[in-house]
Structures are given as C-alpha cells and as structure tokens.
Symmetry: C2
Subunit: 204 residues, 2 copies
C-alpha cells in the first residue's frame, strides 16, 4: 500500500468512526485499530487528530465543488443544474456518510487556522447555488424569490437528510433528490389553495 493510499485510508476510516461515535468520543487508538496499525503510526501521516478532521472537511467540500464545475460547461438550464446540485449532495450521503456528518457537525472543532479556508470554500459553494437560483429567476423559470433564502431552503432539505438517510434503503439518492426537487420547484399545494393571497403576508 502506497503512502497516499494509506493516508486516504486513514481519512476515510476515521470519517466512518466520527460518523458512528462522534469526533471527540473517537480516540486515536480507535482510529489506529480500525486502520490496523498502532497509534504512533497515525502521527507519521498526520501531525494531529485535528489535521485528520481538516482533511475530511477539505475532501468533502472539494468533491462538491469539483462535481459542480465539471458540469458548468454543459449548458444545462438553471432548474436542471439545481436538480444536479441536490443530487450531488444526496449522493455523497451514500458514498461518504462520514464526511458529511463531520462536515456538518464538527466544523467548530476545526483548529482556528483551518477554519478560514474551509469556510471560504463553503461560502463559495453556497454562492454557487444562490447564483444558480438567481439565474433561474432572471430567466423566468423561478418566481421572484430571495436567492439566499431559497438556497438555504434547498440546502436544508438536502443536507438534513444526513440525519435519516440510510444507503441501503428503498430510495436511491438520485430519486430522492428528484422528489425533493419536485417539492421545491412545483410545491405541495394544489389549485385549491389561492396563491395570490397566500403569498402576501404571514398571518399573525
């Protein structure tokens, strides 16, 4: 096993344990055992536990950004791109469960120096989705809505799934993305609800 392979292995096994047990409840010995190696060996690949956490964060957000960018030249319309983004996120819950939970729950545990760069990438990705929604509004496929808020709603639907989604279940991640996209784009309501009034002001 090459050096980079082992490094990779440590990251993904650690992510799995953090997912199962949480970051602080997982010890370096746990990780070492899971990898099949003694604790000091871990320190040959990572200077500290926090650096493993950092590697997980970086790997995850890079995956998301890369997937989107690989698609950005295809000329898909805004609503289609939105579906693909949702599918990206949900797919990573199949393939990178540990990364997802760590990325969402353990960013506060990141060492101070690492937080900045990660947050920058996170913001960049949020910005991508906002811009995408804004483009949809511009082109007329989405109604007038605050892109920031709509992006947060989208992320909410998808990101929250890490709390309940289990890979082996009945629903493949892509189908799930499609259902959620459907709720978001077409809404749950029928014609029996009167859009004009309902969209105005919240009832007290």
């Amino acid at each position: 096993m090459s050096s980079t392979e082992r490094r990779q292995q440590i990251v993904s096994r650690a992510a799995g344990l953090f997912d199962k047990t949480g970051y602080s409840s997982t010890t370096m010995d746990d990780i070492a055992k899971e990898v099949g190696v003694a604790k000091p060996t871990l320190y040959h690949y990572f200077p500290s536990k926090d650096d493993i956490l950092h590697a997980i964060h970086e790997e995850f957000i890079d995956l998301l950004i890369d997937r989107h960018e690989a698609r950005s030249e295809t000329g898909l319309r805004a609503e289609q791109l939105l579906l693909e983004v949702m599918a990206d996120i949900l797919e990573l819950m199949e393939t990178h469960r540990g990364h997802v939970r760590v990325f969402f729950e353990h960013h506060r545990e990141l060492p101070a120096e690492a937080r900045g760069p990660i947050k920058a990438k996170r913001d960049r990705y949020e910005r991508i989705v906002e811009d995408l929604i804004a483009a949809g509004v511009e082109s007329g496929v989405f109604r007038q809505a605050d892109p920031h808020l709509a992006a947060l709603a989208t992320f909410g639907m998808c990101n929250w799934a890490y709390q309940w989604y289990r890979p082996g279940g009945a629903l493949r991640s892509r189908e799930l993305a499609y259902q959620f996209w459907n709720y978001l784009v077409y809404g749950l309501g029928t014609d029996q609800l009167t859009p004009a009034t309902a969209r105005a002001v919240p009832p007290a």
Copy 2:
C-alpha cells in the same frame, strides 16, 4: 432561588454552553462556573452530565409537542397547521438555541436507557407532521405526495436553520417560517416550467 428554578437554570445554561462549544468539549466545571456554583453542587441536582443532556432533550421535544397539541382543537386547516408547526420549530431557534443544537447533534451521546423514550417522542412528533400532511392530501389542498417524504423535506428546511439562523438578524422566525412554507406549498417554479412532464421520472 428555588430548587426547581436552579435546576432549570442549570439546564438552560448548560444548553447554551453545549451550543457554543459542543457537548464533550464543555466540562462540568464550565457549567458550574456559568451557573455560578461549584462543581459538586451540580451533582446535587443531576446525577451525571448525561442526565443534563437528557433533561435538555426532554424539555425540547415536550415544548414542540405541547405547542402543537395546544392548537389541535382550533380547527385550523392542514396547510395552516403545517405553517404553525414550521413556525414552532423556528421560534425555538430564537428562544432555545442551545436545546435545538443539542437535540439535533447530541442524541448519540444520550445514555442507552434514555434514548428509547426520547426517540419515541421524536417519532411521535414526526408522525404528527406526517398525519397532518396526509390530511392535507386527503382534503385536496396538497397534491398526491408521500407524507413521510414530504415531512422529511419540511423538517429539513426548518431544522437545518439551526446551522445558520441568528436571532438578532433581519428575519424574525415567523416571517422565515412563512417564506419557507411558501416555497414548500407553492414552489419556486413559474408557468414556464411544464409540470406534467417534469413530475414524472428523474432524468438519467
């Protein structure tokens, strides 16, 4: 200060710290200091740190359930009840930030005996929302949709807000609930999207 008041105070201060620093990174000394008391005194009110965690969980889910039940006799229609549920959740992010984060992120840290009862209540609340959506489908205000999935989408939008919502911000929780409810019920799409085809099958 009465005994129950102090108990209450410990719970809410602890929740605040857990929110800020995370459960395992917060020490009993931290909590004691925050409450203005010495560590052993905490053990006069709670047998262990885990029991504080448990108290937070219970308080939170009870709040949600109670609020819904207080409303269940009012004869509101399904879509209105759904809005109220969303508003409940988001309001607790203003008034009980710590509880929210703890409830969502630290259920795995609960001692084994406590997990069961809490999960039962959690399931009960999820069931309430599912039934509410099912009733809306039944009465024709919501289109044919899987109530379970639609509930998960709803929870996603609202629950995820604990990650970014800050009480002092521009948006009051009720307005936010209304915006999200609007997205969910009416959708983001305009007439330029063709509902019939789009709702069918996910594109490969």
